[in-house]
Subunit: 168 residues, 2 copies
């Protein structure tokens, strides 16, 4: 987690879901909108700040996939990998906003190209963890993710979002 | 907003919604679950930390109801009061969690009784602002809120949650 004496390099918000559906391609005159969806599992909203580099990705992935926030049938909390549950990753640059007067400013957000690269590395490493996990492979859980830079049209059903924030 | 040199006294997460529905009373053997819902507007998840007192409430209310995060038809961003949109307030103590190993700890969260009192003051002052606002009164927007200490079973539909975090 972020050393509290320095500014964070990345911020994530986690919510538990029963079902979540995210638009990954808006409708166009000649094509319908495209969506991805997951059932029970974890929604990860993610944002990178200036100064973040690929070095922080392995720790982020390890932390977020192993933190015990997913409730089992018996009310015990385990990681999304242990549940096992599906994962929906949503790029959410607005999480980097800082209030100035009545407006939000995003001066600390990472440059778009680097952010896009870190985002794809984050997604790829999460996918690798999920694939390597026997429980997840057997349970046929999935990882889905939003497209960077798009509007993240989202529908989410929860049994309590149990919202957490983790900074790195 | 929170002075970055001290720990925050309150943390809020804001999401824009097209529709949101929150359970305020779970089903019981002889009664169905009760829900509240709003259409277009702002979802405010709120959490208080140890040391918070009623003095911070007016500033929180003023800030959150006036920050320009609500998108108009023409793509301009205005406050939820100016939209005008409805408001759903969700007590979300989990937002105060701090990662320790693979678990979340809530040592910095406010004592339950004080938190409940601050939460009701926050809701009451938001209601007062909404009622006093001519645009909101004419548009017939509503304020709904969750019950403190309950599981916050939530369904939310967005056109992009546009998630922001504001600390106080």
């Amino acid at each position: 987690m972020a050393d509290s004496s320095r500014s964070p390099l990345a911020r994530s918000v986690l919510q538990q879901c029963l079902h979540a559906k995210l638009q990954v391609k808006p409708a166009e005159p000649d094509s319908e909108a495209e969506w991805v969806e997951i059932n029970r599992g974890l929604v990860i909203y993610i944002c990178f700040f200036k100064g973040a580099s690929e070095e922080i990705i392995p720790k982020m992935v390890k932390t977020l996939l192993n933190v015990k926030l997913s409730e089992t049938e018996s009310g015990k909390y385990v990681s999304v990998l242990d549940l096992p549950g599906s994962i929906l990753i949503i790029p959410q640059a607005t999480l980097g906003g800082k209030l100035k007067g009545r407006s939000m400013q995003y001066h600390y957000n990472i440059e778009k190209e680097i952010g896009m690269e870190l985002y794809s590395q984050f997604v790829a490493q999460c996918e690798r963890e999920l694939t390597a996990n026997t429980k997840c492979a057997e349970a046929d859980v999935v990882l889905k993710h939003g497209t960077y830079g798009n509007r993240q049209v989202l529908k989410i059903d929860t049994n309590g979002p149990f919202t957490h924030m983790v900074e790195f």
